[in-house]
Subunit: 894 residues, 2 copies
């Protein structure tokens, strides 16, 4: 016998003062139970009932095939109370108490667990009800529904077997819907179902309502550990839950004739946010009929015609619900013989633009504060939806079965175009005005021009921080990666999906927000940067402490970033600058150089080009800081690996192709991620750092002369020892002073480092001696802290996520425990050495809300993310600050 570990496990609710729970008790009462209690508590018309705490779930499951004695006692007491509250009695044919038994965990798991309605019906009860002429049909209809639900939920009778009985009856009577069956027919159906029950279960349906109730409660608790529910929680990384609560509530019936009905409705339009009720009504029906879609419902506004007074009551209730919960609500209601009951309320799901409009409207209506609006009413991902075009109707293409596959949603937004298979084709097709989708196994820096020319990018390999993902996000270009069900034949320009083959030129639509790859050209709607958006973002800025910068490599990106509210550039990756037409060749000449002299000659050609790039960035960013990272990737990334391309390089550089080939082979590494890159380049070839530092400070002086209050910050990558930073800092300062002397003008000098190697985080105290700032490169830090290559993690990450070995992809959401500890340690040790040290993050995590919350908690000064992610980051930063202040959404975190 399991020990009884909790004292209170039954929570009663009615609208007359007995309610014991409230909305804050989701953890024990589940979402449904807590909201029912809250509504009852403040007097909304809720049918009375009680909730069995989720804290019971474990004990009940461990107790074997029956409920523990003390639970039975608790239920009995609650039932007695409920009989008193309703004036009805379980099993009493005259005034029968009928019950719904519903599951409800703290976090919504739609359709995952079970429900039994109409419980308490027995042969005696149903006959007594049927004896009243107005209820005859209702009685048999409810009875056959109960037999079906009780049989399938409690005893695993196949729902299909019950359906057959119903179908036989309809066929026999030549009708197509349940609604057309009369009382007699339904009675026969019920009898047929009872026979099915006995045949499959081995005994008769229990005629003791208490036995029914105990069995149903047990079944609902057990549904928590059903295979599909466990899988669902695994997939969604849901941990820390007690189990499911069980809600036992007296039934109300919308199927008692033309003065009854059922409706589901939103308090505002979930697509646009426009005020006014939005939903569906069915007269003379039970709630499940709306969901089943058997009859076509009317709009909820039709209540005005059917029952004007009830409609006014509903409008009033909705306004009160919104005001009370501080949010737009999604409610279920039933009208039983002219009386309105609320059966459920919860936050309504909505589009991004709707979320922003609702938040702003609710503040203007005085229902909520700006703090509440920012903290609870808009998801950062919803902000993203406002920035990108999106599909006009996602439901349409899904219902039409046009979704070919689902990959990782690497960069949000919608894109429509014709598929091409290499960067050159993308550029050529785009040049003649075609919209194209670039499809590759994976992308490399050589593909950048083609990626820019494309409307969207689709890759079959790679993860959320793969090259394609990072570059696409930087441009706000929709992108789906790691879509491994496709096989891409780049040589023959074909895309394979099982037996299907898609040729070059086929129209595809990509939903970068959901990861869906859709066949054909879907209609789109524009981005929504209206006044509401601007107002809402202003409130975000008032509430946040974290600064938000952008990762940008080109003046255009910097302008976009500033328009979206970035207060500086947190990461300019100079290597991206080397892939332009005019510079890849000097870059390659530098790499194939065999002497320092040759290398310096090639660098001299690159210097003015880099200087011009930097000047553009400085001008675009004005008085905001611009953090420029010195050359980071291994040099082999700049050389082509195919024979043909090597020949081309040899021809252009006037050197033997063998030289190119040898250099490529010489530069090959077993693990390039851990190889000769980052400051290791600048230390072995100081002339590269000299050139870049000179270009940066010449550009800064140029900008200053043009009147810009310029703030360059030079960032040394991949430092692991303080000696490395001391070395590079000395080179940078020397070049800066040379420029200042030559030009007779100074600009502010700031040199810092990426903290992206675990050792650097640990040795931050020493490293800070040579650093004006730290910027956490959490992509690499995550790679090295976990020992995961982001290019190869696809081999085991899906399995790790589905088995719950990892709660989330650590490249998407910053690991607060391991990587986060290193970041926090580095901050603490760095600041101890240098209290003025500026601290930021520039990895891809800088745009992820959960990661931003971690950064806020650690106490960073700013996050830096893709330009298109800046508004979402501003919101996430504000939410992190507000959540720290305490208080939470009455209906729980979404």
């Amino acid at each position: 016998m399991t020990a009884r570990s909790i004292e209170k496990f039954v929570y009663r609710f009615d609208s007359h003062g007995t309610t014991e729970g409230d909305a804050t008790m989701r953890h024990f009462l589940g979402g449904k139970g807590a909201n029912l209690a809250e509504m009852a508590r403040i007097g909304f018309p809720v049918p009375p009932g009680f909730t069995l705490s989720a804290a019971l779930c474990d004990e009940v499951l461990a107790h074997g095939g029956k409920l523990p004695e003390y639970v039975l006692t608790g239920i009995e007491e609650a039932v007695r109370w409920l009989e008193g509250a309703t004036g009805k009695r379980l099993g009493d044919p005259e005034r029968p108490l009928l019950l719904s038994v519903r599951s409800g965990a703290a976090v919504s798991m739609p359709g995952m667990m079970d429900t039994v309605l109409n419980l308490g019906m027995t042969e005696n009860v149903v006959r007594a009800i049927a004896a009243r002429p107005e209820d005859t049909r209702f009685a048999w209809d409810s009875w056959r529904r109960f037999i079906d639900m009780f049989g399938s939920v409690v005893h695993n009778v196949s729902h299909h077997a019950f359906e057959e009985v119903l179908d036989d009856a309809k066929r026999a009577r030549g009708v197509t819907t349940d609604h057309e069956l009369d009382a007699e027919a339904l009675q026969q159906v019920a009898n047929g179902m009872l026979a099915v029950f006995k045949a499959q279960v081995g005994y008769e349906l229990p005629q003791d309502p208490r036995a029914q109730l105990h069995a149903a409660v047990l079944a609902v608790f057990r549904s928590w550990n059903s295979e599909r529910a466990v899988k669902y929680r695994e997939i969604h990384g849901m941990t820390g839950l007690l189990g499911t609560a069980v809600n036992v509530q007296s039934m109300v019936f919308g199927n008692k004739g033309s003065d009854s009905g059922t409706a589901v409705c939103f308090t505002r339009d979930p697509a646009t946010g426009k005020p006014g009720l939005y939903g569906e009504l069915l007269v003379d029906a039970q709630g499940e009929d709306v969901v089943a879609g058997i009859r076509t419902p009317e709009p909820v506004a039709a209540m005005k015609d059917h029952w004007p007074a009830l409609y006014d009551q509903l409008v009033g209730l909705c306004a009160k619900l919104e005001a009370h919960f501080g949010n737009m609500q999604d409610i279920e209601l039933t009208i039983e013989r002219g009386k309105l009951y609320l059966l459920q309320t919860r936050h309504g799901k909505r589009t991004g633009p709707a979320a922003v409009r609702i938040a702003v409207d609710l503040v203007r209506e005085g229902a909520i504060s700006t703090e509440n609006a920012v903290r609870n009413l808009v998801d950062p991902d919803q902000i993203d939806q406002c920035l990108h075009p999106r599909f006009a109707d996602e439901g349409a293409y899904r219902n039409a079965g046009k979704v070919l596959a689902k990959g990782l949603p690497a960069s949000p937004g919608a894109a429509v175009g014709r598929i091409v298979f290499n960067a050159e084709d993308a550029v050529a097709w785009a040049a003649r005005g075609e919209k194209v989708i670039l499809v590759r196994a994976e992308t490399s820096p050589e593909d950048v021009a083609g990626m820019h020319a494309a409307k969207g990018i689709l890759t079959t390999r790679g993860g959320m921080t793969s090259h394609a993902a990072v570059v696409a996000r930087g441009w706000g270009r929709p992108c789906i990666v790691g879509c491994g069900v496709f096989g891409v034949d780049e040589r023959n320009r074909k895309l394979k999906l099982g037996d299907r083959v898609f040729e070059e030129g086929e129209w595809f639509s990509l939903n970068g927000t959901s990861g869906e790859v859709v066949l054909g050209a879907e209609p789109m709607t524009d981005a929504t940067l209206d006044d509401n958006f601007q107002t809402f973002m202003g409130w975000c800025d008032e509430h946040r402490r974290l600064g938000v910068r952008a990762n940008a490599d080109a003046p255009h990106d910097a302008e976009v970033a500033r328009r979206f509210g970035a207060a500086g550039i947190g990461l300019c990756r100079t290597e991206h600058m080397f892939f332009g037409e005019d510079r890849i060749n000097p870059m390659r000449r530098m790499i194939v150089a065999e002497t320092e002299t040759e290398r310096r000659a090639a660098l001299a050609v690159l210097l003015p080009l880099q200087r011009a790039d930097f000047l553009g960035l400085f001008k675009a960013m004005g008085a905001y800081p611009v953090t420029i990272r010195l050359l980071d990737p291994p040099l082999h990334e700049f050389l082509p690996h195919e024979r043909e391309a090597q020949l081309e390089v040899a021809r252009l550089l006037h050197i033997p192709v063998e030289t190119v080939k040898n250099r490529v082979e010489h530069l090959a590494e077993s693990n390039p991620m851990l190889g000769h890159r980052g400051c290791r380049l600048g230390i072995t070839f100081p002339e590269i750092t000299e050139m870049q530092a000179t270009a940066i400070y010449e550009a800064a002086v140029d900008a200053a002369e043009a009147g810009v209050d310029v703030h360059p910050e030079v960032m040394v990558p991949l430092v692991g020892t303080h000696e490395e930073l001391a070395h590079q800092r000395a080179v940078i300062l020397r070049m800066a002073e040379e420029v200042f002397t030559r030009r007779g003008r100074r600009v502010p000098l700031k040199v810092g480092t990426m903290i992206e190697v675990p050792r650097a985080a640990l040795r931050a105290g020493e490293i800070a001696k040579h650093a004006d700032f730290f910027s956490f490169g959490t992509n690499d830090l995550t790679q090295m802290t976990y020992g995961y290559s982001r290019d190869d993690v696809g081999r085991f990450l899906p399995s790790y996520l589905s088995q719950g070995i990892l709660p989330v992809d650590p490249f998407k959401t910053l690991d607060p425990d391991g990587v986060g500890e290193l970041v926090a340690t580095a901050c603490e040790r760095g600041r101890k050495t240098r209290p003025t040290l500026s601290l930021g993050i520039c990895g891809e995590h800088g745009g992820d809300p959960a990661s931003i919350a971690t950064c806020h908690k650690i106490g960073l000064d700013y996050v830096s993310c893709s330009p298109y992610r800046v508004p979402a980051a501003r919101l996430a930063a504000a939410q992190a600050a507000l959540k720290e202040k305490g208080g939470k959404d009455l209906q729980g975190e979404r």
Copy 2:
């Protein structure tokens, strides 16, 4: 003017009670000064003098071109005292005080800094000395030596110009050695040299002895920062030194006729350790003549014939020195007109076998304690020399110019054989009785059979933890890696070195201790595991706290390890077992399997083979623990990458070659070190773990039935989250219980993990919930903590070491700051969760003395290293424990 920051900076010494320093003051007095003071303090016959503290060095160097006033004052006072002590006066023609001015830092930097002898000579002084007939030649000889040294050391006059004057004189007189020049000739040489001085310096040689002294002191201080001295310290990672001290000492002369002489000698034979003086004597000569090798010296024992009383005095002094310093000494002495002076004493360098013998003899003679013997008298690397054959005479092949190149000394000992260029040839040649040296660019697991067949291994790439290095050390096979000056043409079986080409079959000798590659077959001597060795190792075991285990994969290795004193196996790498002839094919079949069923079928073939391997290990190790690591490397390592080999595999496995090729391509990774390996394999393919766990516990039960008190420890590699270990532990325990039930017998159950991912170290508190032990895999931990791929680090590591960015190769010596902090953190957090947690290290650092000291300090329970490194590790562990106890070698750490 620099502030005077130290009070006391002059330390006087004489043998009559005035001595102010002692041997413990190396940091200030330098090694030479401290030892002189110590000898003087206890009454050895040392010419009196004084030492200027190294603490002055910085101030003097910062002061510009002259000595600070207070230093001049201090020197003047010390000179006055020295005049009193010697009864001579600086510049006094009658009784001139002549001085040597010598550098001497706390750590020896042979030949790096400067010396001026005979200082105090002037025209007047030399003439006065020369006026005494017995001293005429001596006077002019000493004068010309002074001019040369003063000119070149203090004024940068080219020594070559002085040499020309001397050569001219010899040519003019038709003689070949300096010794044959008479007084008149030497006077002319001196005059010629004075002319050179004036011509190059611009003024006459100073005739004021104090000016000479001040200039010489300044020059010696300055030599601390000479380019070659700075470079030397960089290369040897010497940091934390104050600078050089300056020793000013009254001169004694061995070149005053046949009752004078000079000698260098060891108190015991440095090659064998045999008691008795061992060294060289030159009659009528100064010390530098011995070093210059112009005349052939006599053995030091010849003193017995020349001056029997002095010889007896020397033997007595040597015994006293040994007793005082507790070690065999290397001394310099001068006999001036029948009186013996000691000029220097220090620990004598010696071979490994000599070190062991001397240590044991000194203990037996009652001169030192076993504690002292273990702590100070033998280096762990010297222990290594005892285990391996070595070259009979290293000097011989060096002098003969036979050293072709120097690589990294990856595995110690000497090997002689004929070079071959692939594993198959090595096996074939060895089978017909040839001794072979396997030469490869780098080795892979496919080469293992050939490596085993070879006497030694030479690679042109890779570092101290490359495949070749690790495998060779495990077998005690001499190995040199990363010898990049060679170009290896494996296809044509040729080795290139500049213009030279060595064909297959050429005889090479490898010195794995020094890294020298020697042309030809050098004579060797055997290993020295005599009684002295066993006695000494016994003392080590008495003094150490750390346990020592071995890394061993095969029963033979385990037997070697036990013979060398390993108390268990700390790491058995199961993957090495899969490369045998009989198992590589089932392994490959497992890898190319496309379904779990196929994979399980292949694993079923491997199971009995693995079981037999484990049984062998258990039997060899008896009651000691055997830690077995589950499969770790990425699967692609087991498949061949060349077309021909793939065809062979396809034929053997009866599958299309395309299947093999596709599988190889599918398994290819960008960064395999951070890819699908370690427990990631066992989690995605649990059937592999199931097979290995079953094989381990079946073998353990077999061993137990055969009477072995078996202690298997199953180790899960590459864990980064506690969920990973929980998953694998569950699989292992399940299989173990199945075996126990089936066989009706239990064996101890221990499951633990490698801590080799930074995150695992940080999350050790959680991970320890599922672990009975941690074993630190510091190879991978170093890779990930620094972000260095050990296979690629050769690109920048040499530059990092030479620039002083890194003090040592972190793959050789455990980084105590970064990686060490992670190890310490993991220990602390792990033990907090589970106080009984056993903690060890199994990376290659386990055999490195400095790393062992770090492990001791952190508080690990044991280290595990290659079998051949076990004795050295036992010594290093004892030294770490003794050093922790405090007290140190009187002459400083070697």
